[in-house]
């Protein structure tokens, strides 16, 4: 005797065989999952169906047949229909699914997130179902990718957002491809049978015509298939291209942003090209962070969209995020407006060139021979040389200061005094603030007895980068004054004078006298030096 179970369903009592019970339970579970899509109404629908099941089961019971058997359950299920049958009927109305019986397993598959067997968002298990492999491999791949600058994490997050969760049974089936059910087999067999039947009915009277036509048809169909395959290949290729370019641009961009934001500090981007941590570099714009945020949003959104479309094309994903799309578009437009506003605001701020000059006297009376030398004001200041886009600058991370080489020019004094003219100039200065800007260009020189020391660098704060502050020194020497230029002083001279005075060490470290035509090597020195040797 079989083991029976007593159940209460649809207001009726039943004795049911154990295997029948299992089958019924399984069926009800599948219905429950399927009707999840109906939301609140699901419970009511299930109750109604249970009522009907109970009614049908009861009809089969009689004096000799008092407990529900598996045959009864099977019969009931065939009357009410399986979930697959519902899907077919529902999708037929929607018309979005290819002809029954003719679709391939692959066509019908969609990428969903599988939250029934997930660890995080069900992305890996969903992909595993799509590719028909063990989820473990996908997970391993994500973890390996995660170590490559976090690419895996990024891809995972994007997929999490983009790929919808499989909610209904229909979607869960689509996730794995359409399983081979009795109904789908029946449909495909019927379709084939119909084809053959119509084929046979033409045989006989139209035999010859039929044959040629079918040959022609076959060629056409073959061409069609080739075309479809080609088209699918192109679509796939476009998807892959979108995905890869998007991902690469995104990765590079994130690196750049991190480098600029100073998070990565000295980040070697490529051969010899280094970006310093110049967080304050743009701060003089006053809108540095706004500008960066706008720029990031402007660039990131299209790239994410590119990846999104790539995934959609590749994996046949059904998008369920109209709100997200609207949000992204709005954000992008806002970022564009912000970007343009900041640019215009700042451009209007940076219209002025500023210049200031003053002259100081150099004491010459006590020292008939003056030495012009350079002192290094960078000692112990930890400065690094950076080369960005052909522009070399010296920067101290420690002091957030930029170091620039001043220019030196030697000229004839208009009177008997010797003077040091210091001319500071800068571009991109905010109007009405030129005095303050000039004060921020810091340069020093000093006279120690007979030596005039010039600092080899002027310094500006890094936030004044765009000012391109510069100092030009005009050393005015009276006629007849003897000076000695050190080697390093020579290096500061502008190219013309450097050629004229320091070529082949002509005047370097030698006494020279000022004449109306410029510096000349002292005459008696010339005759005396060979004798000294």
């Amino acid at each position: 005797m079989k083991k029976t179970i007593q159940i209460h369903m649809g207001g009726r009592q039943f004795h049911i065989d154990e295997d029948a019970y299992q089958k019924l339970n399984h069926y009800l579970e599948s219905l429950k999952r399927h009707f999840v899509a109906e939301g609140e109404a699901a419970k009511e629908i299930l109750e109604d169906i249970e009522h009907r099941i109970a009614e049908l089961l009861e009809k089969n019971l009689s004096e000799n047949h008092q407990s529900v058997s598996i045959e009864d359950v099977n019969q009931t299920i065939s009357i009410l229909g399986k979930v697959e049958d519902f899907i077919y009927e529902e999708s037929a109305a929607g018309g979005s699914i290819p002809e029954a019986g003719s679709y391939s397993r692959r066509d019908y598959r969609r990428l969903y997130r599988d939250e029934d067997s997930n660890y995080i968002g069900g992305v890996a298990s969903g992909m595993a179902a799509y590719f028909d492999i063990d989820a473990l491999w996908i997970r391993v791949a994500f973890i390996v990718l995660a170590f490559l600058h976090g690419v895996g994490i990024l891809v995972y997050l994007i997929l999490w957002v983009v790929v919808p969760k499989a909610r209904t049974t229909a979607e869960k089936l689509q996730m794995r491809g359409v399983p081979v059910t009795l109904s789908s087999i029946r449909e495909s067999v019927n379709a084939e049978y119909d084809k053959v039947k119509t084929g046979f009915s033409h045989i006989g009277d139209h035999n010859a015509i039929r044959q040629t036509r079918s040959a022609f048809e076959n060629i056409l169909r073959g061409l069609g298939l080739v075309f479809v395959a080609f088209f699918k290949f192109i679509i796939g290729a476009i998807g892959v291209t979108f995905l890869i370019t998007g991902a690469i641009i995104l990765a590079v961009l994130i690196m750049f942003i991190l480098a600029f934001a100073g998070i990565l500090g000295h980040f070697p981007v490529w051969n010899g090209f280094e970006l310093p941590s110049l967080t304050h570099l743009f701060a003089s714009t006053g809108h540095y962070y706004l500008l960066i945020i706008a720029l990031v949003v402007l660039v990131i959104i299209p790239i994410v969209a590119l990846i999104y479309w790539g995934i959609k094309i590749l994996f046949n994903v059904q998008s369920r995020h109209p709100a997200l799309r609207a949000f992204l578009l709005t954000t992008w437009i806002l970022a564009l407006v912000l970007f343009i506003t900041v640019i215009i605001l700042n451009a209007s701020h940076f219209t002025m060139e500023a210049r200031v000059a003053h002259t100081a006297r150099i004491e010459t009376k006590k020292w008939p021979r003056l030495y012009i030398d350079v002192q290094d004001n960078t000692v112990d200041k930890r400065i690094t040389e950076y080369n960005v886009f052909d522009r070399t600058f010296l920067y101290s991370d420690h002091e957030n200061a930029l170091f620039t080489v001043p220019e030196l020019a030697i000229g004839l004094s208009k009177d008997q005094g010797m003077y040091m003219g210091i001319e500071k100039y800068a571009s991109n200065v905010v109007p009405n603030q030129s005095d303050e800007a000039m004060d921020r260009i810091y340069f020093q020189w000093e006279q120690k007895d007979s030596v005039v020391y010039i600092n080899n660098y002027l310094t500006t704060r890094d936030e004044d980068f765009w000012m391109f502050g510069q100092v030009r020194l005009n050393l005015q020497i009276p006629e007849g004054q003897v000076v000695v230029l050190s080697e390093r002083a020579c290096e500061l001279l502008d190219p013309d004078q450097r050629y004229r005075y320091c070529q082949d060490s002509m005047l370097t470290n030698k006494p020279a006298v000022m004449t109306p035509d410029g510096l000349r090597l002292l005459e008696n020195q010339k005759s005396r030096s060979p004798r000294n040797k």
Binding site: G10, G11, E38, H51, A100
Partner: protein, 108 residues
């Protein structure tokens, strides 16, 4: 061309109209409606009817009451609401004009 699919689409389109029609002739419980629909081969599997009934009820086209039955537990009897009759009238009108339109083309 897949004619089965076209047929299924047509069937589905008129199914809701037919449910309202059946109920306009008098209140009925789900099995009555099912039997009528199955006789005319409008539905293949019964399970598809229940979500439709619930949707129509939630849309305010139908109401239901529980009624004692001689053959078992109480049954859920559906009835057409006022809104349901109005919708039915509209559907009926558009159905007739559709038939005329199609006939005028097909029977030419």
């Amino acid at each position: 061309m897949d004619f089965e699919n076209a047929k299924a689409q047509m069937r589905k389109g008129v199914l809701e109209f037919c449910i309202l029609s059946i109920l306009s002739r008098g209140d009925a419980y789900a099995t009555d409606i099912l039997n009528t629909l199955k006789e005319s081969e409008l539905i293949v599997v019964e399970g598809t009817l229940y979500p439709l009934l619930t949707r129509q009820k939630n849309a305010g086209l139908l109401s239901y009451r529980w009624e004692e039955s001689t053959q078992g537990p109480p049954r859920k009897y559906y009835a057409l609401t006022e809104k349901g009759s109005e919708v039915l009238k509209e559907l009926d009108a558009s159905w007739r004009s559709l038939i005329e339109a199609v006939d005028s083309i097909v029977k030419k």
